[in-house]
């Protein structure tokens, strides 16, 4: 019985992907086996055929890079505050009390004046919004917990659009923040 390389070996040998010693065995065999040479030829033609079928990928939209850079800026802004608070539990508790009271003060306030600036970020357990407006800096919990999936969450006039929630880590991707309607 004549030994023939496996189809896996031929599929890899066609593009030089076999380990060197195995490639040597296969090439020696191919010199004397027309059937295996034909099959190897079909596998050699596969990558160009796939590329022809694939064509060009769509162009990346111009707004995509801007959104990526904006997302990185937001991640930076809250990373420093998160670290400082975690390093000092007493300060963290005091900060929670202050922010809780601040959040209570926000209820029922007139929010008709648009803020100068606003941001949102996600921690493991909450989506937090921050705005800087005529009344100064205001920070609020937009959503307590981890959303199950893509969602729009809001608190007051601040709306945060979430595109993705990693089911494994709970990491939340924020794609848009809006004030007002």
């Amino acid at each position: 019985m004549i030994w023939h390389p496996s189809e896996s070996d031929l599929a890899l040998a066609a593009t030089g992907d076999l380990a060197a010693w195995r490639d040597l065995l296969v090439r020696r065999h191919l010199r004397g086996c027309a059937e295996c040479r034909q099959l190897t030829g079909e596998y050699a033609a596969l990558p160009p055929a796939l590329r022809e079928l694939a064509g060009d990928a769509p162009a990346t939209p111009a707004w995509l890079s801007e959104r990526i850079l904006a997302g990185a800026t937001e991640a930076t802004a809250f990373a420093g505050a998160a670290r400082a608070l975690r390093q000092n539990p007493a300060v963290a508790f005091a900060a929670m009390v202050v922010l809780f009271l601040l959040a209570l003060l926000l209820v029922g306030r007139d929010s008709s004046l648009p803020p100068q600036n606003y941001k949102a970020s996600a921690t493991a357990d909450a989506v937090i919004g921050e705005s800087i407006g005529p009344r100064g800096r205001e920070r609020m919990v937009v959503y307590a917990g981890t959303p199950a999936g893509p969602a729009v969450v809001s608190a007051g006039d601040l709306q945060v659009e979430i595109s993705q929630v990693d089911p494994r880590t709970g990491a939340i991707t924020i794609t848009r923040i809006r004030m007002g309607d």
Partner: protein, 192 residues
């Protein structure tokens, strides 16, 4: 899931890190500039890989944002600046594989047969031919496992070497060979 208008959810704020319990480092202006350059230089390639793997632009755009945000947060892990593209592709491949597994678990069909408009410079007939070819390829790729799909996209469509594919997928050369061989055998039978 939208809260009632005007409602403020007051409560505990737990300022823990976004990812994996580790705090991302504070980033300097230089690092931010570096990141902007990274996006400009590699976004198109990363997006193309993600598009090939998930089959539609919308998901590829979302994943691209996720990939570059992770790259931004993990930039301290990049040891060799010369190896930034394989490092990025590794993040991209893992993100796409996780995405496809999550979709499969939810029994959602991730592929969109409404294909993307190509260059406006080609004729309508050529565009239809191209779309049909892409549709055919997408249907075939859909039948591969996420790892097989990743390996064949990186090796045969993106032209990475076997060693680079292994680095991008975070597995051994032997494992990558097995994925590539298995994918090629299936594709040859499907497409022939």
């Amino acid at each position: 899931m939208v809260t009632a208008a005007g409602e403020t959810l007051a409560g505990e704020i737990l300022p823990r890190a976004v990812e994996g319990g580790r705090t991302p480092p504070l980033v300097s202006a230089e690092a931010t500039d570096w990141f902007a350059g990274l996006v400009e230089q590699h976004l198109r390639r990363v997006f193309a890989v993600l598009y090939r793997m998930v089959g539609n632009s919308a998901d590829a755009q979302d994943l691209a944002q996720e990939v570059f945000l992770k790259a931004f947060q993990r930039q301290h892990q990049l040891r060799d600046a010369e190896r930034v593209l394989p490092w990025l592709l590794r993040i991209a491949a893992n993100a796409a594989i996780d995405f496809q597994r999550a979709r499969a678990a939810q029994r959602q069909e991730p592929w969109d047969d409404t294909l993307e408009p190509q260059s406006s410079e080609i004729s309508a007939e050529s565009r239809l031919v191209q779309q049909e070819r892409q549709r055919r390829l997408h249907r075939a790729l859909r039948l591969l496992s996420p790892k097989e799909r990743a390996a064949i996209v990186l090796r045969d469509l993106e032209g990475l070497s076997g060693a680079e594919v292994a680095e991008a997928l975070g597995c051994s050369r032997i494992t990558v060979r097995a994925h590539i061989a298995s994918a090629r055998i299936k594709l040859r039978r499907i497409l022939s």
